[in-house]
Symmetry: C2
Subunit: 365 residues, 2 copies
C-alpha cells in the first residue's frame, strides 16, 4: 500500500477524530474510497475502536431516490439508533463519478433531506470528520492526472497540523479582539464588522471544532458588511460554473451583483430567503499545501493566500452567547485571490499584504 494512504489514515484517526479505545465508530466509505478505508480500518483496529462500515455510493442513492415516491419516513429508527450510539463518524469521500446522481429530481432530493433532520443532528453530535480519498473522478474534476492529483491531496492532508494550528492561533486572536476588517484589491473595497464575534482556528481536529481533513482556515461570522468584493477564483455551484462574481453590500445586505459566468446561479442563491443576501462567514485560507484550485470546496476554501466569504447561514461557534447569527437555508462560499496587489487589515493594522502575513518573513510594512 502507498505509504501516504496509511499516513492519511493515522492523521484522520489520531489528530482529527481523536479516536480512543472502545469508541464506537461509523466509517462511511464512498465507492471509490476502498483503499483509504482499509488503512483506516487497520488504524481503528490498532486503537481498539469498534467499527461499523457503511457504504456511501451516489449510484445507490440515485437508484433508491428514483425508485421512491417522495413520501419518506422521518429518521428511520435503525439508522438513528446507529448514529445515536456512535461516538465518532468518519466520512471517507471519493466517488467514481461526480455526476452520478445529477438526474435525481431536486424536489425529491430535498424531501429526502428534510426527512433526515434528526439523523443529521445525531451525526453532528458525534466527533465527526470528513475527508476524501483521491479518486480518478476527483482528479478529472480538478483537470489533473491521477498521479498529480494524489500528490496534491497528500500535500494538503499530510501536514504538521500542530504547527499550523499555532500560526492560525495568531490570526484567531486578531479576529477575536478586532472589530473592523478591511479587504482591498482590484475591484474590491469591503468593510466587515466582526465586533464580539469568535473566530474558529480550523486545524482539522475535533479538538479545534474543526471537522474537515484537510482544513487550515480561520473563520468568523461578520455582523455587517459595506462595499464591494470580486470573487476571482472560479468554482462550480449546483453543477454550474461561476466566474468573477461581484457582490455589493449596503448595511450588510447584497444590493447589487454581477458575474461573467453563472449569474443566474448567484441570483437563485441570493433569492432563496432573507438570510441568503447577508454574509454568514469570513474565512482566511491558510493551508499552503493547497496551491491551486481543484473545483472542490473542501480544498479550495482552505487554499493559502485566499479569502472566502459565504452568503447564508453562520456557524453558531462564532456567535456571542445567546445571539442568533445569520439564518438561511444556504451557505455558499465564494473565493477571492489575495496573493497579489491585495491587503487585509483589522482595525487599521495591515495583517496580510500580497498573501504574506505580518508575522511571516518577507512581509512588507
Amino acid at each position: 500500500m502507498d505509504r501516504r494512504i496509511s499516513d492519511h489514515a493515522e492523521i484522520l484517526v489520531d489528530w482529527s477524530a481523536r479516536v480512543e479505545r472502545g469508541d464506537n465508530v461509523v466509517l462511511s466509505v464512498a465507492d471509490g474510497a476502498h483503499d483509504l478505508a482499509v488503512a483506516v480500518a487497520e488504524a481503528l483496529g490498532e486503537r481498539g475502536a469498534n467499527v461499523v462500515a457503511t457504504y456511501d455510493s451516489a449510484e445507490l442513492s440515485r437508484a433508491y431516490l428514483r425508485g421512491h415516491d417522495d413520501d419518506f419516513e422521518e429518521n428511520p429508527a435503525h439508522e438513528l439508533a446507529l448514529l445515536e450510539n456512535a461516538d465518532v463518524y468518519l466520512r471517507l469521500g471519493g466517488g467514481r463519478n461526480t455526476a452520478a446522481s445529477v438526474d435525481v429530481p431536486s424536489d425529491r432530493r430535498q424531501a429526502y433531506r428534510r426527512s433526515r433532520t434528526a439523523l443529521r443532528e445525531a451525526r453532528m453530535d458525534t466527533d465527526w470528520v470528513s475527508t476524501v480519498h483521491p479518486t480518478r473522478s476527483l482528479a478529472q474534476q480538478a483537470g489533473m492526472s491521477i498521479e498529480a492529483y494524489r500528490k496534491f491531496v497528500y500535500t494538503a492532508v499530510l501536514r504538521d497540523w500542530e504547527s499550523l494550528a499555532d500560526q492560525m492561533a495568531t490570526l484567531k486572536t486578531i479576529f477575536d479582539e478586532g472589530s473592523e476588517v478591511h479587504i482591498e484589491k482590484d475591484d474590491t473595497d469591503l468593510w466587515l464588522d466582526i465586533t464580539d464575534r469568535t473566530a474558529v482556528n480550523s486545524a482539522a481536529s475535533v479538538d479545534y471544532d474543526s471537522h474537515n481533513l484537510p482544513s487550515g482556515e480561520v473563520f468568523t461570522a461578520p455582523a455587517d458588511a459595506e462595499g464591494t468584493v470580486l470573487f476571482d477564483m472560479p468554482m462550480t455551484v449546483d453543477g454550474m460554473r461561476l466566474r468573477d462574481v461581484q457582490l455589493s453590500f449596503e448595511n450588510g445586505e447584497v444590493v447589487d451583483f454581477a458575474a461573467t459566468q453563472g449569474e443566474s446561479v448567484i441570483r437563485a442563491i441570493l433569492e432563496t430567503d432573507a438570510g441568503a443576501k447577508r454574509l454568514g462567514e469570513l474565512g482566511v485560507g491558510m493551508n499552503r499545501g493547497i496551491d491551486r484550485i481543484t473545483d472542490n470546496i473542501l480544498f479550495d476554501e482552505k487554499m493559502g493566500e485566499t479569502i472566502h466569504l459565504a452568503v447564508g447561514r453562520a456557524y453558531d461557534a462564532c456567535l456571542p452567547n445567546g445571539e442568533m447569527g445569520n439564518h438561511s437555508a444556504v451557505h455558499t462560499d465564494l473565493i477571492t485571490d489575495m496573493s497579489t496587489e491585495s491587503v487585509l487589515s483589522v482595525d487599521g493594522e495591515i495583517i496580510q499584504r500580497n498573501g504574506t502575513f505580518r508575522w511571516e518573513p518577507g512581509f512588507e510594512t
Copy 2:
C-alpha cells in the same frame, strides 16, 4: 444494466425477504456486489423501505483484525442498536478475492466471532436473506469464465420458486411422515432415523424459514445413523480440498473415516467436540438450475440430484418441541451424487432412483 441483475433484485426483495413499506432494511454490500446493490436499492426505494447500506469487505475486516490486539469489546452498542431496530437484513455476497483474509490468525478470528454473539442473534431475528452477486473472484473459484458463471448464477437464482416450493412440499410430507431413510449407491449403504423430525421446505423465502437465495433443498435432522456413506462431490473446507470422504456410523456416531484428499481436515472437524461426530442434517438438493459444483456451498448443496449430510449442529426448526438436537460448534456439509446407480428410500418405498423422483416423468419403479 443487465436485466438479470434487476430480476435478481426483485426476487430477493419480494419473494425472499417479503419487504414491505416502512421496513427498516440493512443492506450489506460485499466489495464486488455494487451492481446488485444498485438494483436492490432501486427496488427498496420502489417498495418504500428505509435503507442503511453497510460495506462488507474482507480486506477491511482483515486490516481491522490484524490491527487489533484480540481483546474485543462484546457486541458494540451502535452495531447492536442498528440490528435490533432492523426488520430485514439482506446480505449481498460477492467479494473480489476469496483468499483476501486467509492471513488473519484463526484464534483472533474466533475471538472476534465470540465477541459478537448478540449481534449474530439480532441479525438472525430479522427477516434475513443471504445471496451473492457473480464476481470474477467467484467465477475463478468455480473454474469458469465470468460470462459462463453469470449464466450459471442466474439460472440458479431466477427460477419459478412457487412451483419449486410445491414440488418440494411433496418430499417434505414424505420426510415428516417417515421414519427410516435409506441411501444406497456404490460404497454407500446408510440408514437414517428421522422419526418425529420436521423437514424444512427451503424455497428461498423467509415465509418458508429459508434464508438463502438461491435455495432449493428439503432438509431435516436425523436422530440416528447406521452404515457407510461416500461423499464423491469434491469441495473446499477451511481452504483445504476434500475428495471422496467416506464416513462409517454406528449408533449415530462416526466410528471410521477416510478420504483420498484432505483427511486431516475431516479429522480436525470430527474431533472438534462430541456433537461433531454425529449428523446434524440430511438435505436433498432439488434446484435443477444448479447442474454443476462451483466450490461454493451456497450453490453446491442445493444442486439437483444430490444429497448432503452435515456433521455437527442441527437446525432447531427440524426438532420436536422441547427436544435438543445435535449440538456442536461445527456444521460441515458433505455432498454425494445421486444421479446414477443410486436409490433413496423412506420406510421401504423408493422416493428417488438415479436422480429422478417418483412423481417425475421417467421414474423407474
